[in-house]
């Protein structure tokens, strides 16, 4: 295995660590955090092909989630992005699971592709998280329209973005979204979020 220290995040050039803090101050409405480099597999299969769907579900240890939903299993999350497309996000490297999935799927018509290196993840949280995201995204982020566990693809200003609501507290901590952005757009997306958060007060979390 290569050394982790050789890796560089998509936002390395922004030098975020220099002004990162442990927690958001109460008067700050938004906290942004760069999430660790994601390990992601793209899984394509037709759920009507029950053999393939079952094999994938068994290997992943979950029922393949419905459109717009995320499904949790031990040590991984599956995001349903389209009629025949899922993302599998996990902690460790994706190669082992890729091999297992390919083996389980056998000759079924399915595709398994490692894509995590091509994406970056940013966590947006705080009492103004919804207002902030609304500035750049036509989705309705109201709790009645976007529930915990949901996953939606849209835009963040002019960048593709996948939104997932992780938690939502009624108290002062507010909602916590995970946004997944293409690696080459991550720098733009971060600067856009930081600029748009200006009126609410911004904390950059370590």
């Amino acid at each position: 295995m290569p050394e982790e220290t050789l890796r560089l995040s998509a936002l390395a050039s922004l030098g975020l660590a220099a002004h990162a803090v442990a927690a958001r101050a109460p008067e700050q409405g938004i906290a942004l955090r760069e999430l660790p480099l994601p390990a992601l597999l793209n899984l394509r299969l037709d759920p009507k092909e029950t053999a393939a769907a079952k094999a994938a579900a068994r290997t992943l240890g979950l029922l393949l989630p419905d459109l717009g939903q995320a499904g949790l299993a031990k040590e991984l999350v599956a995001y349903r992005l389209g009629p025949d497309e899922w993302w599998i996000k996990m902690e460790g490297p994706a190669a082992a699971l890729e091999t297992k999935l390919r083996a389980a799927l056998g000759d079924s018509h399915a595709a398994v592709t490692e894509i995590g290196e091509g994406w970056a993840q940013i966590e947006v949280s705080g009492p103004q998280a919804r207002s902030l995201l609304a500035k750049g995204c036509p989705l309705d982020f109201h709790p009645r329209a976007f529930a915990i566990g949901e996953v939606k693809q849209s835009l963040l200003s002019k960048a593709d973005a996948v939104y997932r609501l992780i938690s939502d507290d009624d108290d002062a901590s507010g909602a916590l979204f995970e946004i997944t952005i293409r690696r080459s757009f991550a720098d733009y997306a971060w600067r856009w979020l930081a600029d748009a958060a200006g009126e609410y007060g911004l904390a950059v979390l370590s």
């Binding site: 295995m1 995040s9 390395a12 050039s13 394509r44 190669a95 000759d107 748009a196």
Partner: protein, 1014 residues
């Protein structure tokens, strides 16, 4: 300076705080709660503008969005903004405003001469005078604009920030007057998500200017305050004050402009807050409670400063505590106008006369005025006014029964204020923008909403023609309940919720009335004075009649010919009068004449909110590769390729671009170069039908490509023209990796998905973009293999790893895909590592490569090197009209299978011998570099002016100085070029020189390809 016309009490202003402001450089004082207009009036300033065409003195005419006259230039330098309505500008300390349609000053204006020349400026004047010769129009226009004075645009960049946001709700209520509040309360109590947008800084609408009104047993403004408090307390309500809903779009999409900071002194504005915000609001339901706008009466010389709408005078007295004059004449055709008479009377203004077009005045307010002892002249009209920069008096005369003739020359009356009321027009703009149908309400003489454009959109209150308060509240309440129910929210509690109840004077609407659109005078129309219909555009009743005489019958044509209803106010006060006058002249019923189109925006909107934060560094995404940090700190000069930043060349101290590129080119051919090729598109293709799919989308054949091998592919559009190219590798039995050009990556994926999803859904193929998964490092040069061997255990010998092969290996322990392919013509490897490792591997290559003088190179060097080899670049050698045959790539068009574009290539024109074909060019003087894009001719064109058209033989597509060849080279598309090898061509240049060149083969370097295959 004292505010001589400020009342000692009353109104919604804070007299304890005094604000200082300037108008045309003069200093005045006002109070919080004032508008710029009310503060000016408190200081006795009525004359604030010169009119658009005649430069006549004009005064403050209205008290809201409908103001046609009092447009000012607000602020200075970079923050200056033209055409703002003084009636809607909230006063703040330090505010500086200037008049606009005047030069050198408001008081002494040179353009005022236009007024005396008025008979030379009839309707359609511009069309008649300035159309010939057409070439002069631009010059005329500049002079006209200067004379017309539409205000000044700032000459510096806007220092303010703007915001825009999407928003969603169950219900939008436009208007925070009584009907809007009732609607918002009814809906919000059910739990629905409600946005209430009010253009004013305060909720209440006309209640802010009313006296003696009670709602639900409370004084009206206490009810408003309670309603506001309740709405504020509900978590699902968004209350947007100072917010103009200016546009309705399809599917209940609304555009709103929130003025976040404009009302504050510059120093008090929170730098974190935007100046204004655009709300892009999508709702399920909407209620238009936008109120109504009073119409003036159209009488002779009805435009002097000191002449205003009756309701405006009432607002200035009651809301702002300002006495708009000392001696007033009230001119009305309805009972409602008496409200102004009573307000003025109670404020201490002497009401010289109430002139009433009605022969038998009656109604609740009329009765109150009679009881107050006001002088009422029934069946009378104002037939003319006197005065210059302020009205000094008027003449009144009795009318005949038809209302078309006045008796006698009139009785003069002194006054410094004349207010008029000609009835009311519901503010149906949003309703009509949404394609709602308007119907004519004969009794109230106004257009009211009929069939809505969408069932989810409802109108309530005065906007719906319900001018009495009780009905307005009922309609608002009902609309709010219905909207909430339609959005899925039932009202809570067992009892049916009841609408708020109104009581008091002035709650009964404005009827009865006698409607006359044109008030007669003692002289024929257009002689010795003007009956203005559209104050902002200086359109008089005589102009409308002229347009009709000249044959313009449609109201839309009359509008364009006379400009009535145009400008920043879009005829808010004038349009119905104009339609009435046209209808009368045509002898047709008014509703048959109809209305002109209601266009958005309702009031002008600054461009800033549409830009939002998408300016400067955030104008467009800047895409960068994993090695960007290294590039930036090592002298890279970047080139934009699509949204990507790619190193163009790496500059060393003292070098210019040419020197850097020459150095890089030499280094690659002589030893070793390193290129960042990460931006090339990469599409992962998996599935049992992958080879079939490739056969269809590429012109060349793929069935026989072995696992581990690569092949160059040419992709055509349906038209047979080259759309993309790139190398595709076979990674496994059912697994391929396609590469695309950088700029086309997204378009190619979309093209492939479209064919797959719509034409060939039976193909078992999945496509996944992996462009950004990999960082791609291209080692190129004779020493490429030697350097790479230091990083991997892979056997790199030509026998084990041949040209056009792909291997998986570890490089520095990092899992990598290595492609032995070449775009430079040298021995070359493209090493793909996971993106996050890209920079570490790059740095290691640079460190270890020092032995070989490794040289990072950019896209320009890549372009030179590939041109030496005669390799095309899609988008440079091709322009959407170039076929594979034109490029000499017919060998890549399979004869045995079908592919996208094949049928088009069979068209006879595709095989014509004189099509432009790819060739090389060598200039006669090897030190001359042809400009790219240069046109080529077969003979030296005559000078100085060759016979037109000069026959063109072709054009230069790529051109460089090649250090490896020691001369310049070029690629070109030349008609029938391949048959013309050795022939001379000429490139006449823009600088007057003509360069001679020779047609040669497009492959200049290593034609056998021995180097890259080594």
């Amino acid at each position: 300076m004292a505010q001589r016309f400020r009342l000692s009490d009353g109104g919604l202003i804070d007299r304890k705080t005094t604000l200082s402001f300037t108008f045309e450089g003069r200093r005045y004082r006002g109070h919080p709660g004032d508008s710029l207009a009310s503060a000016l009036l408190a200081n006795g300033v009525h004359f604030v503008a010169r009119s658009f065409k005649y430069h006549r003195p004009r005064g403050i005419f209205a008290a809201g969005a409908e103001e046609p006259n009092a447009l000012v230039q607000l602020g200075e330098d970079a923050r200056t903004e033209p055409n703002l309505r003084a009636t809607q500008i909230e006063l703040y300390d330090g505010l500086a405003a200037n008049p606009q349609h005047c030069w050198p000053s408001l008081d002494f204006d040179v353009g005022g001469v236009n007024d005396r020349l008025a008979r030379f400026f009839p309707a359609g004047f511009y069309y008649k005078t300035f159309m010939w010769p057409a070439s002069m129009w631009m010059k005329y226009e500049a002079v006209i604009r200067q004379a017309a004075g539409l205000g000044k645009a700032p000459s510096e960049a806007d220092p303010d920030s703007y915001d825009k946001t999407f928003a969603h709700a169950d219900l939008l209520v436009v208007g925070g007057g009584p009907a809007g509040l009732a609607a918002a309360l009814a809906a919000a109590r059910s739990g629905a998500r409600v946005v209430l947008a009010e253009q004013d800084a305060r909720l209440g609408g006309w209640l802010l200017s009313a006296a003696g009104v009670e709602i639900d047993g409370q004084p009206a403004l206490e009810w408003v305050a309670a309603a506001e408090a309740e709405l504020q307390s509900l978590p699902e309500v968004t209350l947007l004050k100072r917010t103009q809903c200016f546009g309705v779009y399809d599917h209940n999409f609304f555009a709103l402009n929130e003025r976040v900071s404009d009302h504050l002194p510059l120093a008090a504005r929170d730098p974190r807050l935007p100046r204004q915000r655009l709300w892009k609001l999508r709702v399920k339901q909407a209620v238009f409670a936008t109120g109504a706008i009073e119409r003036p009466l159209v009488f002779r010389d009805n435009d002097r400063p000191g002449i205003m709408l009756a309701s405006a005078a009432e607002t200035y007295v009651r809301r702002y505590g300002v006495k708009p004059g000392t001696k007033a004449v009230v001119f009305t055709n309805n009972d409602g106008g008496y409200g102004a008479a009573l307000a003025l009377h109670r404020a201490g203004t002497k009401v010289a006369a109430v002139v009433d077009l009605r022969e038998a005045p009656e109604g609740p307010l009329t009765a109150a005025a009679q009881a107050a002892g006001l002088d009422i002249f029934a069946g009378h009209a104002v037939i003319g006014t006197d005065g210059g920069k302020r009205i000094a008096g008027c003449r009144i005369a009795p009318l005949d029964e038809s209302g078309k003739r006045a008796f006698g020359g009139g009785t003069p009356l002194d006054c410094d204020l004349l207010v008029s009321s000609g009835g009311w027009s519901p503010t149906v703009h949003l309703f009509a923008q949404a394609k709602g149908k308007l119907v004519w309400d004969e009794a109230q003489a106004c257009f009211v909403p009929g069939d809505p454009g969408r069932p989810e959109q409802r109108s309530a209150g005065a906007a719906n023609g319900a001018f009495d308060l009780t009905t307005g509240l009922e309609q608002g309440h009902a609309a709010g309940l219905a909207a909430a129910a339609a959005a899925g929210f039932k009202s809570k509690g067992r009892r049916k919720p009841a609408p708020p109840k109104a009581a008091g004077d002035g709650t009964m609407g404005f009827l009865p009335a006698r409607f006359l659109y044109l008030v007669p005078s003692d002289r024929p129309l257009g002689q010795g004075g003007k009956h203005f219909v559209d104050l902002q555009n200086d359109v008089a009743a005589s102009d409308l009649q002229l347009a009709l005489r000249e044959g313009y019958g449609s109201i839309e044509h009359v509008k364009r010919y006379t400009t009535t209803g145009m400008g920043t106010d879009q005829g808010k006060t004038g349009n119905v009068n104009a339609i009435g006058i046209v209808a009368e002249q045509l002898g047709r019923p008014l509703p048959e004449v109809g209305v002109t189109t209601f266009r958005l925006p309702y009031t002008p909107v600054t461009f800033g909110i549409f830009a939002g934060r998408d300016v400067d560094d955030l104008l467009d995404p800047v895409r960068t590769t994993p090695m960007q940090t290294w590039h930036k700190s090592n002298g890279a000069v970047f080139e934009d390729v699509g949204q990507w930043k790619r190193p163009w060349y790496f500059r060393r101290p003292g070098e210019d671009m040419a020197a850097a590129v020459q150095r890089e080119c030499k280094a690659v051919r002589d030893s070793l170069g390193l290129l960042d090729a990460s931006t090339l598109g990469k599409i992962d293709i998996q599935g049992p039908d992958a080879a079939v799919f490739l056969n269809r989308v590429y012109s060349n054949a793929w069935s026989k490509l072995a696992v581990g091998k690569c092949r160059y592919g040419l992709m055509l559009g349906e038209d047979g023209m080259v759309m993309d190219d790139g190398v595709t590798a076979r990674l496994g039995e059912w697994h391929y990796l396609m590469s695309t050009t950088t700029g086309n990556a997204a378009a190619v994926l979309a093209h492939l998905e479209e064919w797959l999803q719509t034409e060939w859904p039976e193909l078992k193929v999945y496509l996944t973009s992996v462009t950004e998964q990999w960082a791609t490092l291209q080692l190129a040069g004779p020493n490429a293999c030697k350097l790479l061997s230091r990083f991997t255990d892979l056997d790199l010998s030509p026998e084990a790893f041949g040209f056009m092969e792909v291997k998986t290996a570890e490089v520095m322990g990092v899992p990598a895909r290595i492609f032995r392919i070449s775009f430079t013509g040298e021995l070359s490897y493209e090493i793909n590592v996971p993106a996050s490792y890209g920079q570490a591997v790059w740095e290691a290559f640079m460190r270890e490569g020092e032995t070989y003088g490794i040289t990072p190179f950019g896209t320009e060097t890549m372009h030179v090197l590939r041109a030496e080899k005669g390799f095309i670049i899609v988008g440079q050698e091709t322009d959407g009209s170039v076929t594979p045959l034109d490029l000499g790539l017919e060998g890549l068009c399979s004869k045995t299978k079908d592919f996208i574009g094949k049928r088009s290539l069979a068209r006879p024109d595709m095989a014509l011998p004189d099509r432009k074909q790819l060739v090389g060019l060598e200039t006669e003087d090897p030190s001359e570099v042809l400009p790219e894009g240069a046109q080529l001719t077969e003979s030296v064109p005559e000078t100085p002016t060759p016979a037109s058209p000069v026959p063109i033989a072709g054009h230069v597509t790529s051109s460089y100085m090649s250090p490896n060849l020691g001369r310049s080279l070029a690629l070109a598309l030349v008609k029938g070029g391949r048959e013309k090898l050795g022939q001379r061509l000429y490139a006449p240049l823009a600088d007057g020189r003509t360069l001679a060149c020779k047609i040669v083969s497009p492959v200049f370097y290593d034609p056998e390809g021995e180097k890259m295959r080594a």
